[in-house]
């Protein structure tokens, strides 16, 4: 894969298979893969991945929408209900709690759901050979890795 166009095309392949490319870029990919076996193979792989995407089970949307509607229609708790719950929680907390809860926080931060304290991905990233922890690498190191993967670091719709 020495053609500089390969890097650009590889960036475009996911949007090509998802039908998200404008005509000009669509044509660029189509023309390139005719003569480039490597990019053609990557395109074939991306097509299979896209075709194999799991479908959401029938009825899931209804189930979620139902839960959401039920949650929204619940009346606000009365003050004595809150007090009783608070007293119960306090009583339990005094006896049980001695450190930070491991449960997810009730509130979701404004931008994104923050990772809990001490949380790590339950990933095998970094434990499996060939699965390095890219997060700890500098931008320069990441660029070098992309170079080794023969991928441009800019361009494409991503």
């Amino acid at each position: 894969m020495n053609d500089p166009m390969c890097g650009t095309v590889r960036e475009l392949i996911p949007d090509f298979v998802g039908g998200r490319l404008p005509p000009r870029e669509l044509e660029l990919v189509e023309r390139h893969v005719v003569d480039c076996g490597d990019c053609g193979a990557e395109l074939a792989l991306a097509r299979v991945v896209f075709a194999s995407r799991p479908m959401a089970p029938t009825g899931l949307a209804d189930r979620i929408a139902g839960s959401v509607a039920a949650g929204r229609s619940q009346p606000a708790r009365t003050w004595w209900g809150v007090s009783a719950a608070a007293i119960a929680a306090l009583a339990l907390g005094i006896g049980i709690s001695s450190g930070p809860s491991m449960e997810a926080p009730a509130d979701v931060p404004a931008f994104a759901y923050e990772v809990e304290e001490g949380d790590v991905w339950l990933s095998d990233d970094g434990l499996l050979a060939g699965a390095p922890l890219f997060d700890v690498l500098s931008d320069d190191a990441l660029l070098q890795l992309l170079d080794e993967l023969s991928v441009t670091s800019a361009g494409g719709s991503a």
Binding site: I64, A65, A69, A112, Y113, W121, L146, S153
Partner: protein, 187 residues
């Protein structure tokens, strides 16, 4: 029809408009957000927990959590990216609570096979698809999610980075490493 087309048609209100309506108490706006994004959220969840029932619970919890926090959503990222980030974290939480990882039952999740194909071709595609899913499941989590989110959902590397808690560059490397590994596994 692309995934984005499935999720949204031009004449429909934008996610941001629906979020604003939802904040004002419009339940139908929330309903539309659910129908627009539940499939992508399900794919993220099932990719992580690898079990259909648990993935459905995760998606439901993620929507409930997102809607409860809608008032504080500033829109720094798209609603879709925000929801998928919450879903990924809910999935990780579900796995942690369970205390173990389940490596089965991905087969429970049906895959997309076009009805326009003949039965023979559809069978081959289904077989290939099942194999791809098995191979994809062998990738480390961040590589797997990067590949899925880029190809299936059309997220940018910046958005993928937000979902997996990495930089844009790390998301890009995770994706291309994942693709390379997947090609090796498929050969």
């Amino acid at each position: 029809m692309s995934v984005r087309d499935e999720a949204r048609r031009d004449e429909d209100p934008s996610d941001q408009e629906l979020v604003e309506s939802g904040r004002s108490g419009d339940d139908s706006a929330l309903d539309t957000l659910v129908r627009r994004h539940h499939a992508a959220a399900y794919r993220v969840a099932v990719s992580l927990v690898k079990e259909d029932d648990l993935a459905q619970d995760v998606v439901q919890d993620a929507f409930m959590k997102a809607f409860r926090a809608l008032g504080g959503f500033r829109g720094d990222s798209s609603f879709r990216t925000w929801l998928l980030t919450i879903t990924a974290n809910e999935a990780r939480g579900a796995l942690r609570r369970r205390g173990r990882r389940k490596e089965t039952a991905l087969e429970d999740a049906g895959t997309v096979v076009s009805e326009e194909m003949g039965p023979a071709r559809a069978a081959i595609v289904a077989q290939e698809a099942e194999r791809a899913r098995r191979m994809l499941a062998q990738l480390p989590e961040k590589q797997r999610l990067s590949v899925s989110l880029r190809i299936e959902e059309g997220l940018s590397f910046k958005e993928i980075g937000e979902v997996i808690g990495s930089s844009e560059g790390a998301a890009r490397v995770n994706y291309f490493h994942g693709i390379r590994r997947l090609r090796e596994l498929m050969e």
